[in-house]
Symmetry: C4
Subunit: 199 residues, 4 copies
């Protein structure tokens, strides 16, 4: 497939998903500054959503810059991954009304879980396709991405699920903190060569 | 015309059409997880719409990567095709309220029919323009696309219309299944060389 | 300036303007097919808006593919032109509620008039900048575009204004027809070489 | 990083932020032309927002065309800058309801202040990264941009803050004028070589 067109299409979809979140930010009817305060929970979940999608884009961009192969299968997993990403604005909007309510927090956790699954599978498929095409080095550097190593580390995933369930039961509002923490420390760490300028 | 700019413009329009469908996903007022259940019909029609537009983009991308010619006529048929595509979010939203209601299902069928017509004509025009410019091989591979062969196979189209009318009369909800089935088996099959990386 | 980035930015803005018009298409609460009929006026104004913006993009694309120069001044006139274009969805939405009401039709006419002014000035500035940079041939082919020749033909503009005022006074609904007619016959005619594939 | 993909992503996000502002322009229920008059305050704040984001894009485009380096750090500051930009439509919408109300005007001033901070830091980081990579000349021309020189001129910033506070206390409506004035005279002045066509 035409790699740059798939990238451009993905970029457009992610950019729109990122930006439509602001549409949920309702301007107050009142003209008092304090009328904006009830929007603070949404502002928090919006900031977390932006961070999340920003880091996702960064990792995605690194992976696609590296890959020499874009097969039909990769295109479809990529599409599925974008589909799960498109639920983040919905989950963000719902959670933004009440940061401590169990319902929206569980919904967010489900979206997050499906998103992780899709992302891990996408990484796996891209690495494998490059390997099969003889680009072993590229496959290795894609599999070396911290986000992928965590998503496929069953000890880490197991511990995470336990923490997550406890949080959802006892203190749902902690989830936003947990996600922010995780995307920064896991997703934010990309291989050293990500700083280089690829043309 | 400047092919890459027409592609970029089409990509942007399709990406937006794809993504605004999520805006119809209303977050519940209640904070109970069960409050999301009434959205399940919309989730189904949203998934079908995403699949549909994804496959459409994939076929379109293949065809445009191949073509050596983009005439004014092709631009206008392409525009008309995007115009019909822009009704998919509307049809998806309406159907998402009641998967088994005849009204929205007929509306969806009309959109689907007009879309198919526009797509078949676009393929025809691109193949013909390439032929006239001496690129017979390209014309052949574009006409060989499964989606085009089905859309121009009158036996298939005839049988389909009969099935469709029966479904709309007796069990409208089956239409989503029919569309999902069809886009996967007809639209999802692109020529073997679609996996190769065109730069 | 970096021409391709200005083009990409313009394309994105125009694609969004084009596509958000569909958001005004309200899905009926009722599940009867006939519930879609009250949307027919909007469908008409939407079709005209799509045609209008499509033709505008086509002419703009031709002009930008030709130009060798993109100055700061051109960037700003281009921005102003996009600003006037951004009112088309608003005018389209308002007119779509009542095709024969004078208020929305006058508003549409004002938007159309300002848009034409901005477009003519943009063409003028691009032609002039190319001329000053020694690309006389390009300047000539840009000035030769039918849309520009009509917008700067005072007899034509004068006659048009008279017809327009009469229509707005006596039969506002004719305006959509007049615009459709005009964009097709004036805007749709681009120089012969627009069919050639520029890389 | 892949500079052109970061640019394309930024362009898409900015284009969407720019364009969704028109969604706040509510079409009147009435069909009288005068029914559009209550929208005039929004039209003013919309025009200022468009001017603001247009100038921001112009400066950003200049800076990114020049830079030879896009590091992870720059990517994240760029993302933060886009995040602050995404609040402009919200502030614009709120202010558009009542140009003279203190609450929305203070909110706008906060957004403007955070935006300036993010933009100045982005410029600083890009200049520094280029310097460290040995491109001293590029670093100098980026630091020479008028917008950066004003944002880091403490006398100017100090005077501005005083004027701003006085305006917010005594005549909030003046803020739109102050912003328009400032973006035109400070942001609109880019280095002389911005007119040259970079490929």
């Amino acid at each position: 497939m035409n790699k740059s067109r798939v990238e451009a299409f993905t970029d457009a979809v992610i950019a729109i998903i990122l930006t439509i979140m602001i549409l949920e930010f309702k301007t107050p009817d009142s003209a008092k500054l304090s009328a904006i305060f009830p929007q603070i929970p949404y502002m928090i979940s919006y900031a977390v959503g932006w961070l999340f999608i920003g880091i996702a884009w960064y990792n995605h961009h690194y992976m696609f810059t590296k890959t020499k192969v874009v097969t039909r299968k990769i295109f479809w997993i990529n599409n599925t991954w974008m589909f799960t990403t498109s639920f983040i604005p919905v989950a963000t909007a719902w959670i933004g009304r009440n940061l401590n309510a169990q319902g929206p927090e569980i919904f967010y956790a489900i979206v997050y879980f499906l998103w992780s699954l899709a992302y891990a599978y996408l990484t796996h498929a891209i690495a494998k396709a490059n390997e099969e095409a003889g680009h072993t080095e590229i496959a290795t550097s894609i599999r070396d991405m911290k986000i992928y190593r965590f998503l496929t580390n069953w000890k880490f995933v197991g511990a995470e699920i336990i923490v997550w369930v406890l949080i959802l039961i006892f203190m749902p509002r902690l989830q936003m903190l947990l996600i922010a923490f995780q995307v920064i420390f896991v997703g934010g760490n990309v291989n050293q060569d990500s700083d280089k300028l690829f043309s």
